[in-house]
């Protein structure tokens, strides 16, 4: 456990009327960050496997993304965000 707290002091702002919706959304986004991290790692692992053979873990850890890699991953992240937030983002269009 780390010493730095994970939650700020005071009551958290609630934006949705029903209790728990904001917290659920927060949890969903944090889960999405985890999924995003796994996807990033898999992408890198594939690149590493292509070039390095069997020493997968060490090679992945030390891999530095190229500018081309960064572009692929950035596009991938934006697609993931749009997918996960699709219903929220679309709300303006359905009123």
């Amino acid at each position: 456990m780390r010493d730095i707290p994970r939650k700020q002091r005071g009551k958290r702002n609630q934006f949705f009327d029903a209790d728990g919706v904001d917290e659920m959304l927060s949890g969903l986004l944090r889960l999405t960050a985890e999924v995003s991290a796994v996807k990033d790692r898999l992408y890198i692992m594939e690149r590493v496997l292509e070039s390095q053979g069997l020493s997968v873990s060490e090679a992945v850890e030390s891999y530095m993304t190229t500018s081309e890699d960064d572009q692929v991953l950035t596009d991938q992240r934006h697609r993931l965000i749009e997918t996960v937030l699709a219903q929220l983002d679309a709300s303006a269009d359905t009123e």
């Binding site: 780390r2 730095i4 707290p5 994970r6 934006f15 993304t65 929220l88 709300s91």
Partner: protein, 393 residues
């Protein structure tokens, strides 16, 4: 996302930490661009027409806020933005926590060129200690170890994630822009002593030492973790700055000590009574012929109603409770109340120096001050920073 930090205190990131930072930056970018555009359209296309049918009250930022509170697009924007803000601190705190001991014990590899003077007896103001400013757990003052730098390291790493590139490659675009504006706009002005108030980690202080290498640069803040970190950061970059733990509303400097008193994103974090106290102190420590120069959010009087509502979101929901009150002030009158002459007031909006380069920047600042919807906003389309201040007689 590899860390953008280009100094010896940059922390080694695991691939997972890089990936999470990249995700949170992308999420912030999505909220502040894509979702913000949809929220604006929702107001003008749906909410505003409904309001106009129902009542004849004039449109004000407060009225827009009240109406938007019950709008589902505003709720989604605000909920996701809050979650993203919390995630910024959470993801970088994992890294800082893992490296904290080695960061504090890090041997200095360079000769000292600046100084660090702490005051353990200094009473910390409640605007820093009573709330977790910016939703940052522990705020800026909490210490977790002897000689702690945690809050400073969290701040440096968090703005790297938070700004999604909009503060420049070395996170110092605000300081670079405001310092170089003075250098280029007033070529005959050669400050010998420069003071930055509320400096945090000094990221916007260092550009002053670079723009005016002959000047002695001093930076003050109330929070020691940021000062320790800022001092080590400046030393590692080879830029001489003298960091002192001091409250800007009650400075220990003699009268007429500085040619420039600067601050960035500082006033809006202060209660109004402390803004008045700080400005009077700034006037006192400025030499005659010296310049007070603040990078700040643009005043509400200069911006349209919707932009004021949008910009003041932070005051309601990001633990920056004094922000909207500050923006409602007449900035020129604040300086007059502190002792400056109204005719010596200066203000400007300017493009980002480190983004556009010196030639385009020089051309841009030759024009008069212009406000638009990008003034004071972080936006890849072309943020313009705002500065105001006054010359002391």
């Amino acid at each position: 996302m590899n860390s953008s930090l280009q100094h010896d205190l940059a922390l080694a990131l695991t691939q997972e930490e890089k990936a999470k930072r990249s995700f949170v930056s992308a999420l912030r970018s999505h909220v502040l661009q894509n979702m913000a555009v949809k929220m604006r359209a929702q107001y003008f296309d749906v909410v505003k027409p409904n309001l106009e049918k129902q009542q004849d009250d004039p449109e004000t930022p407060a009225r827009i806020h009240k109406a938007m509170r019950s709008d589902k697009v505003f709720k989604a924007y605000s909920s996701v933005r809050t979650a993203a803000q919390e995630m910024v601190f959470d993801v970088v705190s994992d890294t800082v926590d893992r490296h904290l001991t080695s960061l504090i014990d890090r041997p200095s590899t360079r000769a000292e060129i600046g100084t660090l003077t702490l005051d353990s007896e200094l009473a910390l103001p409640s605007n820093v200690t009573a709330i977790d400013v910016h939703l940052s757990p522990g705020s800026y003052h909490t210490e977790y170890a002897d000689n702690d730098m945690t809050a400073g390291a969290i701040y440096d790493n968090s703005i790297d994630v938070f700004a999604f590139g909009q503060f420049g490659k070395t996170l110092d675009d605000i300081g670079s822009t405001l310092a170089n504006y003075i250098r280029l706009k007033f070529p005959g002005f050669s400050p010998e002593a420069i003071l930055d108030c509320g400096c945090t980690i000094g990221h916007n202080t260092l550009p002053w030492a670079q723009a005016f290498p002959a000047a002695q640069v001093t930076a003050i803040d109330v929070a020691s973790p940021g000062l320790r970190y800022g001092h080590a950061r400046a030393e590692s970059l080879g830029i001489p700055v003298h960091f002192k733990q001091m409250n800007a509303v009650d400075m220990a400097f003699e009268d007429n000590s500085f040619d420039v008193v600067f601050s960035s994103m500082f006033l809006h974090e202060l209660p109004l009574k402390d803004i008045h106290r700080y400005l009077k102190e700034a006037y006192r420590v400025l030499k005659p012929g010296g310049l007070l120069w603040q990078m700040e959010l643009p005043p509400m009087s200069a911006m349209p109603n919707y932009e004021n509502f949008y910009m003041n979101w932070d005051s309601h929901y990001n633990n920056e409770p004094f922000y909207a009150t500050f923006r409602a002030q007449d900035y020129r009158q604040l300086l007059v109340d502190a002792g400056f002459d109204a005719e010596h007031y200066v203000e400007a909006t300017m493009p980002r120096y480190t983004f556009v380069g010196e030639e385009a920047f020089t051309d841009a600042i030759a024009d008069g001050t212009t406000f638009d919807t990008l003034t004071g906003r972080m936006d890849p389309k072309g943020t313009r920073w705002y500065g105001f201040g006054a010359w002391k007689n």
